[in-house]
Each structure stands twice: as structure tokens, then as C-alpha cells.
Amino acid sequence: MIKVRGIDVFSRPLEYLTPLGEQVGEIIREWVEKEVIPYRREFDEDYLEHRLILPPFKKLLGEYGIQRILFPEDLGGWGLGHSDYLCVAAFRMFEEIARADSGMAVAFGVVFWPLVLICCEPHVNRRLCEEFAPMFTGTTEPVFSCLAMTEPQGGSDIENVEVLKGSTIRTTAVRDGDEWVINGHKLWPTNTGGVADLMAVVCTTNPGSRNPEDIAIIFVPCDRPGVTQGPAYEKAGMAADKNGDIWFENVRVPLWYRACGPGDDAKYYGEVVSLGNMGSIAFAVGVMLNIYEKLQEYVNRKTYRGMPLKENDAVAGVLADFAATIEAVRIIGYQCARMCDRQDLYGPRWTPEIVARARAHRYFAADRALEAIGKVMNLMECFGPDRDWDVEKHWRDIKMVQLWLGGKQLSQMEVARWFFECETL
């Protein structure tokens, strides 16, 4: 066994870290070593059933209880929704899970994603917390959430709230007495394909309207009559992240299941976009950290003219570029997380400014990661595409991180719109 430097050599802003995040990070590192990494090479074939993927989630979310972290302490949670270290702690958790499997990292992250709307300051919805906390805190079984945004006619349009203001949303929420009646069809949410227990559904209360007050984010327990989930799609990678269709046919929920209320749903929707981008950077970092480990093994074991491959100058150039990419992307990611945490310094994380910054950070990070991983695969020649080396799996997965959340072009538009004050994009 060759002794090499481990993944902790890469820079993190030590002044940002939180004891809770570090402690949970260590627990997750141990969990991925024992419960995920030994089995992940079979995940691709497990994309429909999750026979291998669900048991480790049961341990992490249910038995360790991490699924309860956002809820207030008096409701059985850990109160992280009140913390201004939420994002930094989340970043650490995400990168640790993504080191093993970024599909699991996104499935994990999305458990909390819609809950941000009701658990985090300054828009805690106490009544909904009380309603849903028992789902997550009263069981050792894993509980999954999802945020249903994309529709058949276009994902990026739904997420393009600033310009389209919800006018293209076709999933409707109609008030009927003290209930919402929801009808529509959503595609692609993480944790669908039969996984989710609770959904937050992006709807319109007035189809075609450009009034932000008509955008409603409504929580829907998945066992409600009229909710149908299709099977998981087959994708290039990320088998642990099940995506499928959801149909809503006259689904009824109480009026108070609306997350934040008229105007605020649209406003705080920006927050989930910011956090989704922040998390995506963590996934990219986690993936690259694991590839660093794999690459260490490869360039130490393989030889070139009697010396380890890493001692060749040309190879060293590629290795240096890869290390530099991890360094830079990790710093960017932690800065993004800190920006989302310290709203007192940077402003609210739902504003177009923070959304634009987070999108810029994310697409830059994902582009660099993908490029760097592609070069590592080339360096490994015929072993690069070999699943036994794990690098190709990460390469397939990280491509999805680059493409989701409306795709790169939407990110570019939002970034240009804010930094250059474009008015018609």
C-alpha cells in the first residue's frame, strides 16, 4: 500500500467552518466508506429498484436521524434552519456524500431543499413545520422530499422567474373552499420515480399570469389521492437520483399547505435556486476529491520508464491542473455557501443578485470540473472508461450537475442580467 496524501490537503476556509458541520462530516465520511463506496459500482443497474441504494439511506437519514436536522429542536429536529452556518455545514455534508456518489448527494440534498421554505429564518412556517416534522422525526425509515418544478413544456422557463414571472407554469392550484385543488404534470424532480413522501409543487393560481403573487409553492404528501408517480427515467448516470413524471389529478390539500404565501412563494423560490447552485458546487468538489484519490493510486502504481507515472513531467502537468481545479472550485464553493449563510453581510439569498452569483459560481465550477475530469480520463487511457476505476462514473454524473437547474444558458442569462443590468434578456 502506497502512502499518499489524502483528500484533506485541499484548502477550505477554516474560519467559516462549524463544529456541527465538521462532526457530521466525519460521521458521513465513515458512513460512505462502509455503506456506499463498496457497493457503488453496481448502482447503475439498480436505478429502478434502489435495492442497494436505499439501505445506506435508511442508516444515514433514518437511523442517524439526519433527515430531521432542519426542523426546530422543540419539534424533534436539530434546529439547523435557524443557523447561519446552515450552508457551510450542508456543503461539507454534500461533498462527503458526493465523494462516494453524487447521485446520493443530490437525493440527500433534496430531502431538505423544499423544507428550506418552511424551516429557515426569516420565513419559518411554524404550522407546516408542526405538520410535517413528525414525518421526518418520528421514524427510523428514510423520508424523502422533492421539489416539483419542471414541466413538459420546459424546465428553464419555470425556473426563469425573474423574466417569465411564472407565466408559463401550467400546473394549476385552484382554491375550493379551504382546499387547493391541484392539476398538472411535472417532470424530472429528484426523488420521484416512487421515492418521495412529500413534495413541494410549483403551481400557478392564475394560468398565464405574470403577477408573482400567482406563483404558489404548495406542499403535497405523496399519498394523497390523485398523485401518480411514473417509473424512474433511465439516464447517463446518477442512478441514486431517481427522476420521473408526476401527475396531479384533482389533488386536494388544505389551503395552509402553501409554503410562504402570495408573493413570498415567488420571492423565496430564488432562495432554493441559490441553494441548489451552492449544493451543486459541493457535488462537483466531492466528485473531484474522490478522483484525486483514485488518481493518486493510478499514478503511483503505474510506471513510465521505471518511475511512477506521476514523475513524468507531462503527466505532472495534468495532475497539477487537476489539483488546481479542486483548490479553486472548493474555495469558490465554500465562498458561495458562506454568502448564502451570512445574509447580514451579503444580503438575502433569494435576491436576483445572490441567485446570479450562485449560478455564476456553479456553472464555472461544473464546467471546470467536467473539463478536468475529462482530462484525467484521457490520461488513464483505456482504464479511464473502466468502471472499476470509478472515474468514469463521476464524469457521467457531473455532467448532470452541469446541466440541471435550467441548464447553462439560463445561468448565463441570469448572470449577465445582474452583472450587466440587461433588461430584455
Binding site: 420546459g154 439516464k235 507515472l309 484521457n378
Partner: protein
Amino acid sequence: MNDLELFPYPKNRLQKTDLDLAASLQNLVQKEIVDKRLELKEDYEGLLKPNLRKLLVEIGLQRMFWPESLGGEEHNGPEAAYTVAAALEQVGRADTGLAYLAAHNLALQAALAMRENLDTEACARFAPLFCDGRGPVIVSFLLPVFGEDGKAPTWRGKSFQVKARAASGSWILDGRGVRPTCSGVDADLFGAWCAVENEEQPAFILVPGDASGLSRGPEFKKTGLAASRNADLDLSGVQVPLENCLFRGETEYRRLLSWLYLGISATAVGGLLAAYQILKEWGDNRVIKGTGNVFKENPLTGALMGEIAQDISMARLLAYDLAGMLADPPSFGDAGSDGVFTAALMIVHQVLATAERAIHRTMELMASAGYAKEWQLERYWRDLKTVQCYVGSHELAKHDFARWFYGARTL
């Protein structure tokens, strides 16, 4: 106009038979592969294997170069380079893996049966296997790799995977954990570029798939190329006749590789043409920013689509440039010369890098549809990345370029 004709290539240099072959392949692969793959996906037995037979045996790609007297088509002049390019880009459009396998088969034929370098004895020994109509001949190569466990002898910085020695009228071959360029599970013939014991000159030796002492490991999982079910091999005292050594010289070896790189370049162009057709459908029908804004009419996405078309055009021109070089030895030199080999290596790397970039961008434009298997794009992305890795490290290839252009001697 056929939409594939939008992308420039030197049509004037192709013979009518090349164009006819390309047209019939285009129809065949559309009907037999493209139209069926939504249902059959990448099923080896159901989709890929039957079509490999159709291409190699029924269409006759595996008979192309061999002398007529041995049952071949004797299309074995250097101008066959255009035929290879025209045929494989059509096959690659339907399935990159099938084209990649065909490229191996054609490269071996070119190495043995090219009119100017016809190896009569080798043709007599091996042509019947390709021409008897019994089944497709899957050809795989065992080439040196970059970085090896231990201290294997090297060729141009790459470590030989197989060692050979002559003994008692035979070649004896050994190698453990040998990674073939394709089809370790299924190949009928392995062409091994071997280090020879106590000799400086390597040898290219053909090993039948059923040779005693050759054992195949289990199929390993990989990123793409479902048509190439690959496995590592162990060669333990594999004994083959001395005549199975097809050549000892680097010129012949480089010639083989130059033709292989042509086939692979055309394969990649085929993948790009497929990506174009998928994106065309997306760009024509997708509406963004509310109703009425067709995707291709948006200035940003339209520009990116334009850039992708530019990439495809340049890749196709480069692939046909390589065909042109191989087709005209009096002007450019033999396919096995250092200059042509270096150009072939540069072109295959450039075409594959261009393909990687263009398909990456196509996926970006299509967002989640880009990585959903239903849209069929992501398979080209996985396949071509796999091909790129199998062609070899760009870092070492750059040393070859430096050797040729700058006279570097010790790289």
C-alpha cells in the same frame, strides 16, 4: 438536400461506388438500428450483434480489401480511404461502437491487402476467414499502453502488453491482464504488437481467439461502446505459427494505425452527425421563454448551435483530409511514414476532442434531455469518450508530434 450533405466534405473525390455505399448504409442503419434503438436500446444480442453481421458480412465491409481470387472485393487501392471514411461515418451515425469495430477490421485488411503492400501469403492464410460468409470477424488489437505495472519494454513511451519469443517454429506469447482495444469477450482475432525477447524489433502477431493458452476475463463495465464487450486477457505461453507474424517493422505498424485512425475519425464524425440530427429536432420544436420563441431563433442558443455545426464541419473536413492523405501516397508519402502517421494521430485526437466538445455543448443545450437515454444523445457522448480514451493519452501523442515537428529525441 439530405441534411447530412449540409456538412462539407470533398464529395468530388469520392467515387460513385463510395457514394452509393454510403447511401445504402445510411438507409440500412436508419431502418435497422436508429429506428429500433428506442425499443432495443444498446442490447448486444438483440440489436448490435445482428447488425454487426449485416455490416461486415452482408454489406461486405470485411471483404473490402482482400483479393478477388480469395473471395474479396479487391477494393484495395489507396483510394479506398475515401470508402472507409464514407462508410464508417454512416455506421457511426447509427452506432459508434459498431463503427469502431468495423474500423479495426478494415485497418487489418488495409495492413495486409493494400495493393502496394500486398502480403500474398498472409492474405491466403487469413482472407478466407473474412470472405467465407460464415460470420463477422471481430478484430481487436493488443497495443502498448501508457503506464504499466512493472518494467515492461516500451515503444514510443508506451509499455508493451505482450511479449513474444520464437521457439521451435512457433511464436510463444505471454502477457497478463492485457487490455485489448475492443471486444476482449468476443474477438475472433487479436493483433498483438509485441516486444520480442532479446530483440529490439517488435513484432505484430495475429492470435486466433481460440488459441490455446489465451484466456479471457469477465466482461468489465465501461462508459460506453456497448458493441465492444471488453475483457482483459491472459496469454500464457500462447503458441501460434511463425507465419502469424505479419510484420516486424514500424512502418507497417504505423500504416495499420494510420488506417485505424482514419476509421476512428470517421466513426467520430458519424457520432457528430447523429448529434446534429438530434439537436436539429430539438432546435426546431422547442419553445423557450414562453410561447413563440423557437429555440434555434434565440441569439444565445442559436449561436451555440452554430458553433456546434462549425465543429462538426471542421471534424468532417479533417477526417476527409486524412482520407485524402492516405489515398494519395505519391503526394503525401506512405501511410506508414512518420509524417503521415503523425498527421493521422493529430487528426484522430483533434476530431475526438472536437466531438467531445460539440456533444458536450449539444447536451448543454438540451439540458436534462441531453442526459436522458430516451433522447439517444448521451450514448454518443459516452461512446466517443470511451473511444478517445482507447486511442490513447493526448499527453503521449503530443510527444509524437514534438518528435516529428521539432526533432525531439528523448521524449
